[in-house]
Amino acid sequence: MAGIWIFAESLEQTKELLSIGSTLASKLGTMTSVFLQGNTGVADDYIACGADEVLVLTALAEDQPLDAYIPVIAAEAQTADPDIFLIAATVRGKDIAARLAARLKTGLCSECIGLKADENDRTIEMERFAYGGAAIQTVVCSTRPVMVTIIPRTFEAAARQSDRKGTIRELPAAPPSASTVLERKPKETEAKDISESRIVVCAGRGIEKKEDLSLVQELAAALGGEIGCTRPISEESHWLPEDLCIGISGISVKPALYIGLGVSGQVQHITGIRDAKVICAVNKDENAPIFGASDYGIVGDLYDVAPKLSDAVKNMKG
């Protein structure tokens, strides 16, 4: 037995991994198997999107965490011996992937951003960021299965195809868990999702007080964009929700225009904006690393520049 295995928490994530999985499967001449938690209603959907086999995990008890599935999946992997195991890099997914890799005594490429298979020698070269995003590390795995986690929304989702056939198989129930969930609390405030915004104005450490965020907001409004921030603003000062924190440990944005106000440009932040079309910065330190990563910059105090910039944008747009 062999194949490409897929485990994700949601329908969208699974479809995304199916698009990569199906490509790998056809290249390596093997099949894809997808894990499904509880709800069997979407099994046919997965098959239509490229799954050859759907492995149904029995629903968990209310207080069981998702990692309760680890022994079930590990046992299945020991029998089926998959070639590649793709897992969505959510918080729970990353944890499960590392622990499964430990059980299966194999290597894991965390937060992979690109992978390619060589159909002759069947090796998979995988790319990921290292050193806070300053470097790209390319790895290969010499043990089986090759395990990979992929950050959701890195790739396109698989589309439905007609006339696809697949099998559905139920797996045994998960044993009792070593840890329990006492309570699940939703987020108190749901911030806007800026990962797909066309224009993003980012507040950096150069903003001295919370009230001064209005300067960032005004520029964003003039441009018709949204605001984001760097780690110190959300994690240290708590002036903005962390859903707006751009960087390797936060969200990635890919706007047509990004403007950083008082952003120094640490590599961890730059990694989150590298797919922006035009990167701009306003910073009073001409040696700030952000200028090396920018298309256009203004060397000056944001408190002086930002209002003038907002006016100039309004005039330009008429």
Binding site: A98, A102, G133, A178, K185, P186, D295, Y296
Partner: protein, 254 residues
């Protein structure tokens, strides 16, 4: 009173990595630092000790050159350190580090709780903690932003995409922590002086029962280059106007 192990890594400070003219990474002028998230892990361990008593042992795996890291870690409050070092313990991949830690901890160290950072600041693979828990056969709660001990179990707030899961697990257990858990203390002169007097247990490859082969091989490590214009304007009215015109030309002002 819990015996706590906290794991840390001494890493290249990425702020010192330069990109050479050929686009290759230039490590010549790098400095090293205590991995960012491990500062939070050490702080979490020391705070639990301040609350509940017990001991804190800081453990690291690396080359003999990582001695500076021991002093840095110990200045942040742990009672002693275990330095697993060998010339061959350079550029380890997560499965190797976890396997080495497993053998060291199993044979030598008492523990009720193991704390790790969510990932290291160099590779950020986020694997060593969860892998170690599996190898030791103990419960694992990763990405924790609040942690307490309640009798013989831990209560941990785990940060997940949609909010928080409050988790419970029996001791012994392992947690990995996110930076939200605390603001690490900055060691003072006295702390640094005290650190050099603390006990350090040295373990070398010869003391370990196995050899540790990598499962992942790094084929290349290249600069994540980005081609940008790097044009700057002065902050006067003309400069701001030229800046806005440049944006208009790019077609991003609509």
């Amino acid at each position: 009173m819990p015996d706590i192990i906290v794991c840390f890594k001494w890493v290249i400070d990425e702020a010192y990595i330069r990109t050479g003219s050929s686009g290759a990474l230039d490590f010549r002028s790098v400095n090293y630092k205590l991995s960012d998230y491990d500062r939070n892990a050490i702080e979490a361990a020391v705070r639990l000790k301040e609350e509940c008593g017990g001991t804190v042992t800081a453990v690291t795996v690396g080359t003999p050159g990582a001695t500076k890291g021991l002093k840095d870690a110990l200045s942040r409050g742990p009672d002693k350190a275990c330095f697993v070092n060998d010339q061959s313990f350079d550029n380890l991949e997560p499965s190797q580090t976890a396997a080495i830690l497993t053998d060291v901890i199993k044979g030598r160290l008492e523990y009720d709780l193991i704390i790790c950072g969510e990932g290291s600041s160099d590779l950020y693979a986020q694997q060593v903690g969860p892998r170690l828990a599996e190898a030791l056969g103990i419960p694992c709660v990763s990405f924790v932003q609040k942690l307490s001990i309640d009798g013989n179990r831990i209560i941990a707030e785990r940060k997940v995409e949609e909010g928080i899961n409050i988790m419970a697990a029996q001791l012994p257990a392992l947690v990995t922590v996110v930076p939200d858990i605390n603001n690490p203390r900055i060691p003072g002169v006295k702390d640094t002086l005290m650190a050099s007097k603390k006990e350090v247990i040295s373990v070398t490859a010869d003391d370990l029962p196995a050899t540790y082969e990598p499962a992942l091989q790094t084929v290349s490590m290249t600069a994540a280059s980005m081609e940008r214009n790097c044009i700057t304007f002065p902050a006067d009215q003309a400069g701001i106007q030229a800046f806005v015109e440049a944006l208009a030309k790019e077609g991003v002002l609509r």
